[in-house]
Symmetry: C2
């Protein structure tokens, strides 16, 4: 993996991810809860942006949340402790070298992780192997190519493309949301069902204008400014024009659209 920016692993990004989790909780998580006694693996918990919601929504389930970054894990642990949650244990581990026996978990949950992996199907196959026969696996991913807005702006689309290109250079895939279905099927999951979770923002929804258009999406694109300029993907002027146009969509007559995708599959199609 190159040194190119990967979001989620820079300190100033963490606040953004926490904001995002707060704004989007219902949209992404409303239909995920695990029965009491379930043993659930959260693979790639990062700073715990989803962990708190996940564990709070299934108080009787026991979660094991893993991440490759010890720094992120420490923050995730603080976040769950602050929330008074006691049903999560944290463990440092790499998805491609997991320290768990086959069929150790009833369910697996993976959010905003596949976009960073160069071998997503291999990761799914590994995770599937950890599931008990009636287990389910849930994925949530964004798709930066799902972004459109009013007023339309080619400068803004070019700034977004910088993040897509940087993520590709880092071995990831910013367009993975739309690909969840074929990836899950290719990994041999059964009864796969994928649903879009579209974020539609106009000025009748000021919390989303601020929390999503400005502080989540545009902040994320702004976060790659230096990397994009250093990589020769954009001039400072062109990039800044794109960012200006993204903020323009947060004005009173602006509209912003983005879609997350959520996929659920079963190990044996009998869950």
């Amino acid at each position: 993996m190159s040194e190119a920016y990967v979001h989620g692993y820079h300190p100033r990004e963490n606040e953004r991810l926490q904001d995002q989790a707060g704004t989007l909780v219902d949209l992404l998580h409303c239909d995920t809860s695990y029965p009491p006694g379930s043993v659930v693996l959260e693979a790639g918990c990062g700073v715990g942006a989803q962990t708190v919601t996940l564990a709070a929504r299934s108080p009787g389930a026991r979660f094991t949340s893993i991440d490759v970054s010890a720094v992120s894990l420490a923050q995730a642990e603080r976040a769950t402790r602050s929330a008074g949650l006691t049903n999560v244990q944290f463990q440092q581990a790499d998805i491609f070298a997991l320290p768990f026996a086959p069929e150790s978990f009833d369910h697996v949950f993976v959010c905003f992780v596949l976009e960073h992996l160069s071998r997503p199907v291999e990761a799914l196959t590994i995770l599937k192997g950890l599931l008990r026969p009636t287990g389910t696996i849930t994925f949530i991913e964004g798709d930066h190519g799902s972004t459109y807005f009013h007023p339309d702006s080619s400068a803004a689309h070019k700034a977004i493309q910088c993040l897509v290109d940087l993520q590709r250079l880092a071995g990831g895939n910013s367009l993975i949301g739309r690909q969840l279905y074929p990836i899950m099927v290719e990994a041999g999951l059964e009864a796969v069902r994928v649903s879009p979770r579209m974020v539609y923002v106009d000025s009748s929804k000021p919390a989303l204008v601020d929390g999503f258009t400005r502080k989540t999406f545009t902040a994320m694109i702004e976060g790659v400014r230096e990397s994009a300029i250093d990589a020769g993907m954009a001039t400072p002027e062109a990039f800044d024009a794109g960012i200006r146009d993204l903020y323009r969509t947060a004005e009173a007559d602006g509209v912003f659209c983005y879609t997350f995708f959520k996929g659920v599959g079963e190990k044996n199609g009998r869950g």
Copy 2:
């Protein structure tokens, strides 16, 4: 208005529009019904693709459905008669020269019409004037810029852009879906709420793969082949490559996404 292609006014297009209406009925119309005794104007009914659903869902309401095209109106009338509906009367009229007194209607319904108008805000203002004080007005529009798919293809996006450009040359706007909110607010409507209606298609939904990806969307783009080539927007080879790639998204590992937008506003914000 130029002679460029405008969909809905060519005979072989009618079947496509009827197909589309069938596939998308629930997504677009599930939350539209009018109380018994309501007097409702459907402005721009075309061949009646929406009229049958609209009138069937509100059997106690009385509809007046207008269109500029006598040929389309005759077909719409046959469609409602075949469906056994008696609560619709048809009238040939132009939205910009309507033969109705102010405040003649309880509600107004407009579907796939604004995309064809060069002065949408003016049309909305005229329609608003026809509403009684507690009236509502509903708009449904597509947005061709909301289209994305897997496998991604620049040839396919270029073929779609031909339709967007042809519609712009004809005075219309293929990206109007995302603009419903600001247009409705600008026309002085109150309590405006816009919701996206996203069509997500993967191969677990064969009826949508066939009914929407192939027979609605790709057929619509294919329908402008000659116009796009005549206008010098694409070579036959480039256009056909785009169409081939659109059909490719209908294969087993393909995914297709498109979003309609539905907006409802009130005349006085007290409805």
